[in-house]
């Protein structure tokens, strides 16, 4: 078990400095749309080669956790997820900011991120070997059903019209098919265009569908971007702590979801935050209106995505299977350092691993003051910057951010075109969220389905492949429960009302 000596090992001035630098750098990078946590970690990997292994890991872990949190700033203030993990933060974060509660939303996001990060890191510290088995229990068919579960959120995100939400979700799924098919290398839906050959990059699409429509509306009127409440721009820490305490079940549940989804290789923070948001919405208390500026939505999304940091390290360190894309980069850096990941890592190189885990916990704690401070300045900048500077600055950030993802100008063009289309669709009630949900979950669902279909064909029992595995059955039941429970509850409510009226 990780002892005091490892905590003291993490508490050296050098490690604390690395943790602080990592959190600040990660938060700033994550806040810029287009710059992902993976990129933040990848850029700094060469710097770590000459460092002691534990310090290198602490720096990379701190950057990673900071970047995941930083994505919340642009999600809340600009309706643009800074990283894909922050997609669900936009659902309630931006409406909160529009109402003049952007400072409050940022503080709630910071607190939730710290809670999620701590729970993920504590799971890594105490339960890593047994939890790593979850990663091995998930096959292609489980990923397929997990994606389908995520798609069930369309019903909740379709504001106003379920039919429009379904059409939008299907459109997103179709967009995710554009380019060269992973399974059979067929060129799909490009209609001869070379620009479309590499497909639609998810982050570019997120920026396009969320941020460009905001810019289009921003430029059209002289009104302020966000409503400014009298006396706003503070931390509102007491208010946020009180809310988080009232919503503690949501925070803990979302953190556990984030930890478990983080363990699943390839799933990542976006799925974790969507699943957690879906659960928070399903279990909403009376008076909580999700999608219209409910802080609980921010709590769910941010605690889940930060919990994936610790969760993702579990299969990375125990099995050598990266849980999330940044973990893959960190795994590469570990190999360069001569660290051999595997079940014996915790016993043979326990000093390095436990010092790193304590470093990650310290970095998560450091995120509280740094996150609040940076968040306050980000909020003040956004509300005080004149529109004539705000619009070109955001537009410029989206262009350079869209380009930097794959160093491809086609991504920028697709981003702007999608933004224009998204604005038009939004005007007629086809909101962006179901489209984005389809775009994110489409590739996971398709890869899982085709692989499971092929394996099922080889074993000559496709039905058992799709419907006979225990985890699959659990996810299917849960999906049905999520989809049908609102109808059941509404029916029960109606019957009760009728009985009262009689």
């Amino acid at each position: 078990m990780a002892g005091l000596e490892h905590l003291l090992g993490a508490l050296t001035p050098l490690n604390l400095l690395f943790a602080l630098f990592g959190v600040v750098a990660g938060t700033v990078i994550g806040a810029i749309p287009g710059l992902t946590a993976t990129m933040a970690v990848a850029v700094l990997v060469p710097l770590t080669f000459a460092m002691p292994t534990a310090s290198a890991l602490i720096l990379m872990g701190a950057i990673y956790t900071g970047a995941i949190y930083g994505g919340a700033y642009s999600a809340i203030l600009l309706n643009t997820p800074g990283t894909p993990s922050a997609i669900a933060t936009t659902f309630d974060g931006y409406p909160l900011a529009k109402k003049g509660n952007g400072d409050y939303a940022i503080t709630v996001a910071c607190l939730a991120s710290v809670v999620g990060g701590m729970i993920g890191a504590l799971a890594l510290l105490t339960l890593a070997p047994p939890l790593s088995r979850v990663a091995l229990a998930f096959g292609p068919v489980e990923y397929f059903w997990l994606a389908i579960f995520g798609l069930s959120l369309i019903a909740a995100l379709a504001e106003g019209s379920l039919l429009k939400g379904m059409a939008g979700g299907a459109l997103g799924l179709i967009l995710s098919c554009i380019g060269v098919a992973e399974v059979s290398a067929d060129v799909r839906l490009t209609f001869g265009s070379h620009t479309m050959l590499s497909g639609i990059q998810i982050v570019a699409a997120l920026i396009g569908l969320y941020c460009v429509p905001v810019l289009i509306d921003l430029v059209a009127t002289p009104d302020h971007h966000l409503k400014i409440e009298k006396g706003s721009g503070g931390y509102r820490l007491g208010e946020a702590i009180a809310y988080l305490w009232r919503d503690k079940i949501n925070a803990v549940r979302s953190s556990v979801i984030g930890t478990i989804v983080g363990i699943l290789p390839g799933a990542g923070g976006s799925i974790a935050s969507l699943v957690a948001y879906s659960e928070a919405r399903r279990t909403a208390k009376k008076g909580q209106v999700y999608g219209k500026g409910e802080p609980g939505g921010v709590v769910a999304s941010e605690s889940a995505n930060n919990a994936t940091v610790g969760g993702g390290f579990i299969p990375t360190l125990v099995l050598g299977i990266p849980g999330t894309p940044p973990d893959a980069v960190i795994l590469g850096a570990l190999l360069v350092q001569g660290v051999r990941t595997g079940p014996s890592l915790f016993t043979q190189q326990g000093e390095v691993v436990y010092t790193f885990i304590w470093g990650l916990i310290l970095a998560t704690i450091l995120m509280l003051p740094t996150g609040l401070l940076i968040g306050r300045y980000a909020y003040r900048t956004i509300i005080t910057l004149p529109k004539a500077l705000l619009v070109p600055a955001i537009a410029f950030m989206t262009i350079i951010g869209g380009y930097a993802i794959r160093n491809n100008i086609s991504d920028v063009v697709i981003m702007i075109v999608l933004g224009g289309i998204g604005w038009v669709l939004g005007r007629f009630g086809f909101t962006a969220s179901p489209i984005v949900l389809g775009l994110i979950l489409g590739p996971i669902a398709e890869a899982g389905f085709v692989q499971a279909w092929t394996i099922g064909g080889a074993t000559d029992d496709r039905f058992a492949m799709f419907f006979g595995r225990p985890i699959s059955i659990a996810i299917i039941v849960f999906t049905l429960f999520t989809l049908l429970s609102p109808f059941y509850l509404a029916r029960m409510k109606k019957l009760k009302e009728r009985a009262h009226a009689d």
Partner: protein
């Protein structure tokens, strides 16, 4: 049939466009060499067509969704924003990042300008614009080592 005007005709028109898009997708899937590649796009296209047709039928029945207030503000500025951003992105491979970004920033500043031009603003805004463009250029090019486009003519 309802006697009052149908709500959300725009939504019905978008639904018709989505139906056409769905048909186009299904047509495209007939050209794939491997049938596995066609399963998902075809299924999603079918779902989209069914949902869009159902919405059109809802609209025909006079039960279209009420969208409330139409989008206000200047359409000209909206179009200018998209055109400038697109032009800047398309010009970047030829002009290079800096030579394309500076006029884009300047043009967008003009598009978004609602306040009267004072001497202070005429000096301050371009200076801030230059600081933002060069600041991001330094961050991406020199710190994050992103290979930003260079001018084709140099």
């Amino acid at each position: 049939m309802p006697t009052e005007a149908r709500k959300d005709t725009g939504g019905a028109v978008v639904s018709l466009l989505l139906i056409a898009l769905g048909c186009l997708v299904i047509w495209d899937t007939t050209t794939y060499a491997d049938s596995d590649s066609a399963v998902f796009p075809r299924t999603f296209a079918a779902v989209m067509i069914v949902a869009a047709v159902a919405y059109v039928l809802t609209w025909l029945a006079g039960r279209g969704e009420d969208l409330g207030e139409p989008a206000g503000g200047s359409s000209r500025r909206r179009i200018c924003l998209i055109v400038v951003m697109l032009a800047g992105a398309l010009a970047m491979p030829w002009l290079g990042f800096l030579f394309a970004a500076l006029p884009v920033f300047g043009a967008l500043l003009l598009v978004a300008m609602y306040d009267p031009w004072t001497t202070r603003r005429m000096i301050l805004y371009p200076v801030i614009g230059l600081a933002i463009v060069f600041g991001f250029y330094f961050l991406f090019n020199d710190v994050l080592l992103v290979p930003l486009p260079t001018p084709a003519f140099l």
